[in-house]
């Protein structure tokens, strides 16, 4: 193929171009022609096609995501907001924390190991690009039915990929989730979260300013990895018969990434970097256009200087390649020599590939001939924006009318016991050690809480004990029943999980996983979810700092449950004050905080006992969540609470089982007499937690709850080696442990 230069495009305006194959719609192609005043060259077309893909441009979601800014609560902690690589939050003592969750769903279905591994690599570079040292990762995962043969292909690969990359990189994996549901059969969700720490003055932004500054590409060589991956992989629906399209999968190299991290942090320390951007989806197209677009001038790039792994690559392919472990920096000429020295020390290849110019164009040359001449903003920030039609689906009413509260409940003590054992052994509620044991949770030596705790917690200052806690949650079943409430429940749960450990919730990141935005029903779910989330963030005072949208998670006509995965970050002044889940001491008093309602729709009980999904999700009371969080934080700070666990999937029963098994102590529990035992045990009413307090603190703690108006009921005592629901049934911890721990091992071990 001959080189398609700008000159050529002017001389031969009528060449037919494969815009449809690259995922562009006819009107988008027309718009590109209008912007340029001519047909695009093939390189320009490649750039626009990847940058205007759903994945990079957020063209369907933008109008809804604006609410996160418009409704942003007052929050002094926010240092950098949405739009940068990741949001940055002040956590005190001069420290700032940056965190973000992203999806790598489609690549992980095609090639589970590498897809999940490069998902970690990508989010780690995002955090690094903000100037922070990555300190921990988390992985919220969703798979198809646990017994399905394809889950046996996908899950072990994904878990091994996360472990393989994260462990080699030396980052602790401190939490996340694993959820099974048939709706994710052809569309597993592999989300990855990373958190990084820096001092306030170390924040770096992605922009190229200052004419004459040089653009340096450093890290791995560029190969044919994932070419078109962004537009083809991330924005197309899989056919029902599985992964037919097999574009070049990206393969990650965690050791290269480790060098990149240390090298980049040293470059930051010596103040050699004026602007920086990681190379992720859309590779160089994205990095050059975003850097130039955010800066004050233009940029000129000599593409033939890019170090290649495969010398047959065309300029279009180089622009689209998603080779991993690469970064792009803007550097003042005086600093280039030192920059190169540091890269050389870390064995990282670095090449000057261009410079910042006076003009306002992004110009790319190939052996002296111009192949790209575009206004960078039109590529990076001014892509198409769609107001997609949305409509509440007709089946929503039928679904909501089919309430789980009407399902038959266990009638006898034996049936209740059997229901509990079924529940704790069900794949969603079973012990996840088989997975989390494959992750290094303690490397770096600062992990104070990891799975199965409510949040992951890492210490960030060894002198003062300052730490951050992180939890991710997202119940797709609740969101399917009512996306507005479901999204708020996801936030409320993550918020509660952070507070339960004693940390003060500060900020939010979200990964919004949905079906096709071209389906009005899916778009309605998306609109409701974002509205619910933005409203709830406003009440809880926790701004959304960034995140990611993943559309087209559907097989044929069937979309996944709307699945917003919400990550909440909290801060704790001294990690010594943290509250763990497990009951640690005999004789301590167990208190139930919050109100229990008859709310079984969408619950784990309805799923396990009846394979049922219908009705309305539990109600949300955000003021109550706030109050509960304040009580939990105060209890932890003042040393009143020795253990605490939030109530969510599986209700009170599951929370007690986990607290008993984690702590190695049983409990005697009295269920509320005014509630049906099924409701008391398995209802998933929000805004609840259990705490264990020493006898000496019980009065003080319950008085505090009374004064603040939080319902607080004494429900039992930590005692023995059985879980005894008095007047109902008793079950030995050993029996519970066997049921709880064997499931995943039997399925995947």
């Amino acid at each position: 193929m001959s080189l398609d230069t700008v000159k050529n495009a002017l001389e031969h305006p009528d060449v037919e171009q494969p815009f449809a194959e690259l995922g562009l719609k006819p009107d988008e192609y027309t718009r590109i022609r209008e912007i340029l005043g001519r047909r695009p060259t093939s390189s320009e077309l490649a750039m626009y096609s990847v940058m205007w893909s759903e994945h990079c441009s957020y063209k369907s979601s933008k109008v809804h995501l604006r609410q996160f800014g418009d409704k942003m609560p007052e929050n002094d902690a926010m240092l950098v907001g949405i739009g940068e690589n990741a949001g940055v939050v002040d956590v005190g003592q001069g420290y700032a924390v940056t965190f973000k969750v992203e999806s790598h769903n489609h690549p992980s279905y095609v090639e589970p190991y590498q897809g999940a591994a490069t998902g970690i690599g990508g989010i780690v570079r995002d955090i690094l690009a903000m100037g922070a040292r990555p300190v921990a990762v988390m992985d919220p995962l969703r798979f198809g039915a646990a017994e399905h043969p394809d889950t046996r292909r996908v899950l072990p690969g994904v878990v091994a990929g996360i472990g393989g990359y994260g462990n080699c990189l030396g980052l602790p994996n401190i939490g996340g989730e694993i959820v099974f549901d048939p709706c994710y059969q052809g569309n597993p969700l592999v989300n990855a979260l990373c958190v990084g720490v820096m001092k306030h003055e170390d924040i770096h932004l992605a922009q190229a300013s200052g004419a004459g500054n040089l653009v340096i590409l450093y890290g791995a060589r560029t190969g044919g990895d994932g070419i078109g991956g962004v537009s083809v992989l991330a924005s197309e629906t899989f056919d029902a018969d599985g992964p037919a399209k097999r574009p070049a999968v990206q393969v990650g190299d965690p050791f290269q990434e480790k060098l990149l991290i240390e090298c980049t942090l040293e470059l930051f320390r010596e103040h050699l970097v004026a602007g920086i951007q990681d190379l992720g989806g859309a590779g160089l197209s994205c990095a050059t256009s975003e850097l130039a677009s955010a800066g004050s001038g233009g940029m000129r790039v000599e593409l033939d200087t890019v170090p290649l792994r495969d010398h047959t690559l065309s300029p279009e392919e180089i622009l689209m390649s998603e080779s991993q472990e690469r970064m792009c920096a803007v550097v003042e000429p005086a600093h280039v020599a030192r920059f190169m020295e540091i890269c050389d020390k870390w064995d990282v290849i670095a090449t000057v590939v261009g410079e910042v110019t006076e003009g306002d164009r992004l110009e790319i040359f190939w052996h002296g001939e111009q192949i790209v001449d575009v206004p960078p903003r039109t590529v990076a920030h001014e892509g198409p924006v769609y107001e997609r039609p949305y409509a509440r689906p007709q089946w929503q009413d039928t679904l909501q009318a089919d309430a789980a509260e009407r399902l038959p409940r266990p009638g006898t003590a034996d049936e209740l016991k059997a229901a509990l054992l079924d529940l704790v052994a069900s794949p969603n509620l079973a012990d996840k050690s088989w997975v989390t044991d494959q992750y290094d949770r303690y490397v770096l030596g600062n992990t104070v809480l990891a799975q199965p705790e409510d949040s992951g917690m890492v210490r960030i200052d060894e002198e003062t004990g300052l730490g951050v806690a992180l939890a991710t949650d997202g119940n797709g079943r609740f969101c399917k029943l009512d996306p507005y409430t479901g999204a708020q429940l996801a936030l409320a749960e993550a918020y509660r999980n952070v507070a339960t450990t004693g940390a003060r919730p500060l900020a939010v990141t979200d990964c919004l996983n949905f079906g096709s935005p071209e389906d009005p029903a899916v778009m309605w779910q998306f609109a409701e979810t974002t509205r619910g989330l933005a409203d709830a963030c406003q009440v809880l005072g926790t701004p959304v700092t960034g995140g990611n949208v993943s559309f087209y998670n559907q097989t044929g006509e069937t979309a996944i449950h709307p699945t917003p995965v919400v990550g909440v970050l909290g801060v704790i002044d001294d990690v010594e004050r943290r509250t763990p889940v497990g009951f640690a001491e005999e004789g301590q008093i167990i208190l139930l905080l919050g109100d229990t309602h008859e709310e079984l729709s969408g619950s784990a009980w309805a799923q396990v006992a009846h394979d049922h999904l219908g009705g309305l999700p539990p109600r949300v009371d955000l003021e109550r969540e706030r109050l509960l969080a304040e009580i939990l934080i105060a209890g932890s700070r003042d040393g009143m609470v020795d253990a605490a666990h939030d109530l969510a999937d599986g209700g009170l029963a599951q929370a007690l089982v986990e607290a008993c098994l984690t702590g190695g102590h049983g409990a005697r529990v009295v269920l509320a007499e005014d509630l049906d035992p099924t409701v008391a045990l398995f209802s998933e009413s929000a805004g609840r937690a259990i705490v264990a307090v020493p006898r000496s603190e019980e009065m003080r703690f319950s008085d505090m709850c009374k004064v603040r108006g939080l319902p607080c009921a004494r429900i039992g005592v930590v005692d023995g080696d059985t879980l005894d629901f008095q007047g109902h049934f008793t079950v030995a911890l050993d029996e519970l442990r066997t049921a709880h721990e064997r499931t995943l091992k039997a399925l995947f071990g």
């Binding site: 095609v110 090639e111 590498q114 791995a220 190969g223 044919g224 990895d225 992964p243 097999r246 070049a248 999968v249 990206q250 393969v251 990650g252 190299d253 050791f255 290269q256 792994r309 495969d310 080779s323 991993q324 064995d347």
Partner: protein, 85 residues
């Protein structure tokens, strides 16, 4: 007894971190002039019966579905002649 050899290599466009690590080590150890290294896997399968088309078809199936990850790897199947080592 007949032997069939299945060679599995990463597809040419796929990054090979292991091969790269070897390539970087070579000049350090004094082996110059080697410009690229790609590392693969070799399976030697001993067959019970004759190597006919049916047997080879089964081996190809095994290679396709199990020995190689065809998302990122290519494979070749060949019969090793008697006495060849």
């Amino acid at each position: 007894m007949a032997r069939v050899v299945v060679d599995v290599m990463l597809k040419p466009e796929i990054l090979d971190p292991q091969g790269q690590a070897v390539q970087r080590a070579l000049p350090r150890l004094g082996f110059d002039g080697i410009t690229d290294v790609r590392q693969g896997k070799r399976f030697e399968l001993e067959l019970e019966g004759p190597v006919d088309e049916a047997a080879l078809a089964r081996i190809r199936e095994a290679a396709e579905s199990f020995l190689a990850n065809t998302v990122i790897e290519d494979f070749t199947v060949r019969v090793e002649a008697e006495g060849e080592k």
